[in-house]
């Protein structure tokens, strides 16, 4: 839960920057940051003001091999877009921010409807009964920056779950994408399975135990056959919360 009192928010932001928060709270903060400009400012305050503490460290000469690897992987990234271009992300981000769409579930529903309307016909989910819940997952980088909508999770009235990537995602050799859901902090994330190549999948109704508004869905980068621990071990690539689908008369 992100606190509202200024002092508590300063402490939360400070502990986030210091790296002292529990992983679950780090996720909460990273989930809140894209829509919470005030919290972003408080985090930036600590990031900038504490930086001189690192200023006294003696610089280390990097092994030339590091840049060689960066250059090699950069070529791969440029050849095969993993994540939408940051320029487009930023433009998208501004639109989303300025529209204030994160202010309410109805607005989010509208935004998702727009995204759905923009999808090519072949990507549109074939429904298993009307949509009961959907979660528009935001592309997420390791430090909590939002990079635009990247994934859609649809839960039909019969409990069928569909996973629909909005961008082409290539986890890389020996890696996989794993889908998780979280409805109880005490229990922690529950795996819904490793996603097949391409990421699009339809899961039978019994796979998802519980579904409710606000339930968290996330996709993490894991070893080829999924997390060996039963808990997410890699970075969160996409994250978002379930929203109840609204009925509209047209």
């Amino acid at each position: 839960m992100i606190p509202s009192a200024p002092n508590d928010r300063d402490i939360l932001a400070g502990e986030y920057v210091l790296g002292l928060l529990e992983p679950e709270v780090v996720r909460e903060v990273e989930l809140a940051l894209p829509a919470d400009g005030d919290l972003r400012r408080r985090v930036a305050f600590w990031e900038e003001r504490l930086l001189p503490l690192a200023g006294g460290l003696r610089p280390e000469t990097p092994d030339p091999e590091i840049w060689t690897r960066i250059e090699r992987d950069l070529a791969g990234l440029r050849a095969r877009r993993v994540i939408p271009s940051p320029i487009r992300e930023r433009a998208m981000y501004r639109v989303w921010r300025s529209a204030g769409v994160w202010q309410g579930a109805t607005a989010i529903a509208t935004a998702a409807a727009i995204v759905l309307a923009l999808l090519p016909g072949g990507l549109r989910p074939r429904t298993d009964g009307p949509t009961r819940f959907f979660a528009l997952l935001q592309t997420r980088d390791s430090s909590g920056a939002e990079a635009g909508p990247g994934w859609l999770i649809q839960v039909a009235t019969d409990g069928t779950v569909r996973s629909i990537p909005l961008a082409s995602v290539e986890p890389g050799q020996g890696r996989s994408l794993q889908l998780w859901t979280l409805w109880d902090q005490a229990r922690g994330p529950v795996s819904l399975g490793v996603l097949p190549p391409g990421g699009s999948v339809r899961l039978p109704p019994d796979r998802l135990g519980v579904i409710g508004s606000g339930q968290l869905f996330e996709i993490t980068l894991e070893p080829e056959y999924g997390s060996p621990t039963g808990r997410p071990t890699g970075r969160v690539l996409f994250i978002g919360r379930a929203n109840a689908s609204t009925t509209q008369s047209l």
């Binding site: 790296g19 990031e47 504490l50 001189p52």
Partner: protein, 179 residues
């Protein structure tokens, strides 16, 4: 006079100019490697952190908002969060005893005594100096060394709850002093 313009180089990265990333790397990799190494304490792991961080910087350059802060702090944060995540993850996987980390030889200089002599650093130094030594050390162990609450408690020989309270009160005092 330092004329290297981090913000412009990041903007060039956002335009997919890889030579800008190279210039940022040449300029900042030695500093960022020191930041990562101080936290993860292993050269191979620190190298991975720098590799992953520069790919992150490339991917996210377009999301950098210069009104939000300085590019250098933004880059250093990407490296720190990656290094910290590695430490927390491996600590959980290997069930590392916080006492073991606390017993590591601390051969690096105390960050407070080595604070760079810029104006910003002077302000931070003055504010940190107002904290009691152990509370100040708790902040620097967390920021510079990436220690967890438990590791700080073990290092300073203080109860975990006390350390948590120190950090919270110190953050509020620093916020007041630095604002």
């Amino acid at each position: 006079m330092d004329v290297f313009d981090h913000e412009s180089e990041l903007a060039a990265c956002a335009r997919r100019d890889a030579s800008a990333l190279r210039r940022l790397y040449e300029r900042e990799a030695p500093f960022l490697l020191a930041v990562a190494l101080r936290i993860v304490r292993r050269r191979d792991v620190a190298a991975d952190v720098i590799h992953d961080s520069f790919l992150d910087i490339w991917e996210r350059a377009g999301t950098f908002d210069r009104e939000r802060g300085a590019a250098r702090a933004w880059m250093a944060s990407i490296v720190r969060y990656r290094a910290l995540k590695h430490m927390r993850r491996t600590a959980r996987e290997r069930e590392v005893d916080p006492d073991a980390r606390a017993a590591e030889v601390d051969d690096a200089p105390d960050p407070l005594s080595a604070l760079a002599s810029s104006q910003e650093a002077g302000r931070l130094h003055a504010c940190l100096a107002q904290l009691e030594p152990k509370r100040r050390r708790a902040i620097t162990l967390a920021y510079t060394d990436g220690y967890s609450h438990a590791e700080i408690a073990a290092r300073l020989g203080a109860p975990l709850g006390t350390v948590k309270a120190w950090i919270r009160r110190s953050l509020l005092a620093l916020k007041e002093c630095l604002s």
